[in-house]
Symmetry: C2
Subunit: 410 residues, 2 copies
C-alpha cells in the first residue's frame, strides 16, 4: 500500500460485484403477498472465504441468531453461505424454531458441499408465529440451481418487510494496481434501535481478510453506522450483520498496515450509506434527520444527547409537522443524563439558528418551517461544555408509523 | 389512632373540600383559545400550613420549577399559595422568564399578605416562547378577589393543555372521630415519563403534617404513582407535584405512629388515582393499559421490564390496533436489561394467556382482540426468575398522538 490511502468510490452493482459471489432469491410463500420474493441464498465459491457477524443484544434472540452465532464459532469464521427469509422472524418459536434453522443449515450444507456450520441463517418478519419448515427446505434445491451473479441483484428485495425500497450499495477501490469491491444490502424500517440498529445486512467483499480482523472491522463499522440509527427505539430479536470475504481480488488486509485503515474506511462508508437508507426509510418516515451534537464534555455525554433527541417521540412528531419546536430538542438534551449548562446551548436546523444560549434565537418562522420541510434535515446542537461530538441518524414520526404498526400481524 | 388503620373513601369534591382552602381561576389570554381558563390561584388561609414539592429531574428545568424549589427552602416549607398557568411553560426563557416568575411571587405575596417565598409558581404549555408578564401580573388582583371555595372546582380545567378531561380526586377518612380530607388535581397528556411523570399536580389536605414528613410522604407516593406512568417517554421541563397541608382538621400525622401509615396510604391512593387518569388521557390514547410484571429476579429487573414494555412504540401501536402481538412484548422485555430465561416467560392479557414458556399459547385470535379492545387492559408478564414485581400505567399509541404533536406550537 502506498502512503496515500486509496479512496473508495460508489458504483453500480450488487452482492456479486465482488469476485466469487453468487446468489438467488425466490418467492417461497412465507410472505402473505403472493409472488413476493421472501427467500434468498448468498454463496461464496472460494474455499478461502472468511466470515464475521454482529448480532442483536436482545436477550430474546431469534433461533437464526442463536444458530448463526454458534456456526461462526464452530466453523472458525469459515462460513460461505447465508440463507435468509423475510415474512417470519422465527423468533419466540421455541425448540421447533431452532430445529427448523438447524435443518436449513444441514440441507443447504449438503447441497452446497460444505459443512452445516459453514451456513448462516437469518430471518425477519413477524415474531412468535411458527414457520412451516417445508416452505424453506423444499426451496433450497431450487435456490442452489438458480445461484448466479445475475440473481444477486434480487437479494435486497427478498429481505424487505415494511421497507418501501430495496437498500444496497457497492464500493470500489484500487490497491496495488488491483481492484477491490465491497458490496452490501440491508433491510430496516421498524424495530430499529441503536443497540444493533439494522434488522439485517449482508456484506460481500473480494478482499482477503482474516476472520478475526474481519470481525473487529465489522464491529467497528457497525458502531459507527447501524448502531447510530434509530427509528423507534425498539431493539429487534433478529438483528444480524454478516460479512463474507472471498479473498479473490488478491489484495490482503494485513494487521499493522495501511491496508487496515483503507479497508476499514470502505467498510464504514458502506455501512453508513446503508444505515442512512434505513433511517430515510423508517416506518412512515418522510425525511432523513441527522442529529449532530458538538461541544459535549465527554463522548458519552455527546452520545447520550444525540440519542435522546433522535429517540424523542415529541421531537420526531414535531419534525413530521416541520414545526421548529427547538424547546423539545433541548428538553430531550436535558433528560439525557449529560452534563451541560442549559443557558449555553445552541440549536440550529440546516445552519439556521433556532436557539442561542438556551433561548429563542429570533428566527423567521416560515423560513425555519421550509428548512424542516426538506427531505434531509440536519439538527445541530452545541452544548458548549467541551469538545466531544456524536451523530445519530433518525427520521420523523408520522401517522403512517401508527398505521403500519397497529395491525402488523393481522 | 386505633390499631385498625381507618380507610379512605373517594367522595365528590375539589381542592377546597379540605378545610382552609380557597381558589380561583380566570381566562387570562395565555392560551390561544379565547375564554379558556388558563390561570389559577390556590390559597390556604391557615398560617400553620406546611408545603412540600417534588419536581422534574430534567437538567433543563423551567423558571417556575427553579423558583418553587428555592421558595420551598427559603420559606422552610411554609408556602401557602400556588399561582399556576397553562398555555406557556415559561421554560427556556432565560433571565426574563425567571424575572417574570419572581415578579409573580412578589405581587401575589403582597396581595395575600404573605412573603414572596411563601408563593409557589407552576407553568405548563409550549417551551421556549416568551410569556408576556402582564398577562399574569394584571390578573393577580382579580384572582385574589375571586378566591372562594366555590371557584376551586375550576382549577382542574385551568391547568389543562392537551388533556381531554379535567383530572381531580377527593378522599375522606375518619380518624379519632374527626374527618380528614385529601384532594388533588393533575394535568398530563404529553411529555409524560416515569422520571416525574405528571406535568403538574396540586394536592390539598386538612391534616396537620410537618413539612419534612409531608415531603417524605409526597416523594414516596409520587414514586408509586406519577413516576409509574408513561405516555411518550419524554421527561418534561416543568413537572411539579405540590402538596399543601392546612392542619385545620385537628388530626396530626406523627412520626412513628399509625397515623403515618394511614396518611401515606391515602396520599398514595390519591396520587395513583390521578396517575391512572393521566395514563388514560395520554395524548391520543384510546385505552388505559396496566403493565404488571411478576416473577422477576430483583425489583430493578421487574421495573426495567415493566418500563421497557410500557415505553415501546411497537407494543403501544399494537395496543392501538388491539393486535395480540405478544412477540413485541417479550421483545421489549428482552432488551430491557433484565435477566431472565426467554424460554420461561408467560404473557397474558386480562388473564387470557397469549404466550406460555416463550412460545405461542395457542389462543383464540378473535377473543384476544376483544380483550385488547377494552377501555382498560391488563398486560401480565411472568418472568419465572424470582419473586419481584412492578407495575406501570401506560396507554396505546394512536394516529391522534402524531396529529396532536406534529404542530403543537403553531
Amino acid at each position: 500500500m502506498s502512503r496515500a490511502i486509496p479512496k473508495w468510490e460508489i458504483i453500480e452493482g450488487d452482492l456479486a460485484t465482488p469476485q466469487g459471489f453468487r446468489a438467488a432469491a425466490v418467492a417461497a410463500g412465507i410472505k402473505k403477498k403472493r409472488d413476493a420474493l421472501d427467500l434468498a441464498l448468498i454463496f461464496s465459491d472460494s474455499p478461502e472465504t472468511t466470515a464475521a457477524g454482529v448480532f442483536t443484544t436482545n436477550r430474546v434472540a431469534a433461533a437464526p441468531v442463536l444458530l448463526s452465532r454458534k456456526n461462526l464459532v464452530e466453523s472458525r469464521g469459515r462460513c460461505r453461505a447465508i440463507v435468509v427469509n423475510s415474512g417470519n422472524a422465527n423468533a419466540c418459536t421455541g425448540r421447533q424454531g431452532l430445529h427448523m434453522a438447524e435443518e436449513t443449515t444441514r440441507v443447504a450444507g449438503n447441497l452446497l458441499g460444505i459443512e452445516p456450520s459453514q451456513v448462516l441463517v437469518a430471518s425477519t418478519g413477524v415474531i412468535g408465529m411458527a414457520l412451516n419448515p417445508d416452505l424453506i427446505l423444499h426451496q433450497l434445491p431450487h435456490l442452489k440451481e438458480k445461484l448466479s451473479r445475475e440473481s444477486a441483484a434480487k437479494v435486497a428485495a427478498a429481505i424487505m418487510t415494511t421497507d418501501t425500497f430495496p437498500k444496497s450499495c457497492v464500493l470500489r477501490s484500487e490497491a496495488k494496481g488491483k481492484i477491490v469491491h465491497l458490496a452490501g444490502v440491508a433491510k430496516g424500517s421498524g424495530m430499529i434501535h441503536p443497540r444493533m440498529a439494522t434488522m439485517l445486512s449482508f456484506i460481500t467483499t473480494d478482499a482477503s481478510v482474516g476472520e478475526r480482523m474481519l470481525h473487529n472491522l465489522l464491529a467497528g463499522a457497525t458502531a459507527e453506522s447501524f448502531n447510530r440509527v434509530t427509528v423507534d427505539g425498539d431493539t429487534s430479536t433478529n438483528d444480524t450483520v454478516v460479512a463474507l470475504a472471498s479473498g479473490l481480488s488478491d489484495v490482503s488486509v494485513i494487521p499493522g498496515n495501511d491496508s487496515r485503515a483503507w479497508f476499514s474506511e470502505g467498510l464504514t462508508l458502506l455501512c453508513q450509506t446503508l444505515a442512512r437508507m434505513i433511517a430515510r426509510d423508517g416506518e412512515g418516515a418522510s425525511k432523513l434527520v441527522t442529529v449532530e451534537v458538538v461541544g459535549a464534555r465527554t463522548p458519552l455525554d455527546a452520545d447520550r444527547v444525540a440519542r435522546a433527541i433522535g429517540n424523542s417521540p415529541l421531537v420526531k412528531t414535531a419534525l413530521a409537522g416541520s414545526d421548529p419546536n427547538w424547546g423539545r430538542i433541548i428538553c430531550a438534551a436535558g433528560y439525557s443524563g449529560a452534563q451541560f449548562d442549559p443557558n449555553k446551548i445552541d440549536v440550529s436546523v440546516n445552519k439556521m439558528p433556532l436557539c442561542r444560549k438556551g433561548v429563542d434565537a429570533g428566527f423567521d418562522e416560515a423560513a425555519a418551517h421550509r428548512e424542516l420541510d426538506q427531505k434531509e434535515v440536519l439538527l445541530h446542537v452545541d452544548l458548549h461544555a467541551g469538545r466531544a461530538t456524536a451523530r445519530i441518524w433518525t427520521c420523523d414520526f408520522t401517522r403512517a408509523y401508527i398505521d403500519i404498526n397497529a395491525s402488523y400481524r393481522s
